[in-house]
Symmetry: C2
Subunit: 163 residues, 2 copies
């Protein structure tokens, strides 16, 4: 078994699998309702395209992490593992950043655009989506470490060639 | 000169340098004012933390691209080029996604959260920030191609080792 699919990689992928799964579950179950001026207001992840993107992207990464853990060591897929890991890290970063930008407006609002914060009305939804974002950030960090680790393993001989 | 800092890489870095520079200038100069109910409303990039992040991140990538183009071929920095390129691609993806999420709310609003679209009031700002995002997306694509190209150059021998 070569180093790139060794124990270090499996541990990181397992942590990423669990973290991405938790992020999806916590975000999907975040729910709260509020009554503002006789208007019932329901907060859930599917109300925001960015939060939907977060759930889909983390779901994809969760399935991918599981697939790679279960991948036979002789599989031809290992040839593309660095490219695939890079794409997954970019997908995580992109969806996390989009969800974070919307969560920030939800928390602080934007007075210039006239967008009011909603966390005062739906604190339960806000707290739970913040928790999903924290776990989401852990997933991003784990995938980044995995990518740097894989690059280090793969490029050991390359460093000296290129200097 | 090794392939990773060869002509293909220099061309891609030059395109990324120009694109990121254009994205920063177009976003920074985007400006419009509107009068709503006797209230003067001024739209500029610095009103949104996500747009500020976009400008800073693209500015950093612009400077980095120039520095790498001018980097002597014997420099020790080439040893870390893949890690640095990965970090820059992640930075671009993150800031582009955050700005895109806010631009989408600016264009379409979010009826569930009570956030109204602002593009009807400040169309000039909206059009110009959309243009900045389009050029920003080109920069992301160019850096992704550069990363895949560098991985391909660097990992040629590795593919056969790992299969």
């Amino acid at each position: 078994m070569s180093k790139i699919n060794g124990i270090g990689s499996i541990v990181l992928r397992t942590v990423a699998l669990i973290a991405s799964f938790v992020a999806v579950v916590v975000m999907c179950t975040a729910h709260d309702t509020a009554q503002v001026f006789n208007l019932k207001f329901e907060a859930k992840f599917s109300n925001s395209p960015s939060f939907k993107y977060f759930v889909i992207a983390y779901g994809v990464v969760c399935c991918y992490s599981l697939a790679i853990i279960l991948l036979p060591t002789k599989s031809l897929f290992w040839r593309f593992i660095l490219i695939l890991d890079t794409v997954m890290t970019l997908l995580l970063t992109s969806s996390f950043s989009a969800a974070m930008a919307i969560a920030y407006v939800g928390k602080k609002g934007n007075s210039h655009a006239g967008w009011l914060p909603i966390c005062g009305q739906v604190p339960k939804f806000c707290d739970q989506s913040t928790a999903a974002l924290v776990v989401g950030f852990v997933t991003v960090i784990v995938y980044f470490v995995l990518l740097v680790y894989s690059l280090h393993v793969a490029l050991g001989p390359f460093y000296s060639v290129n200097s």
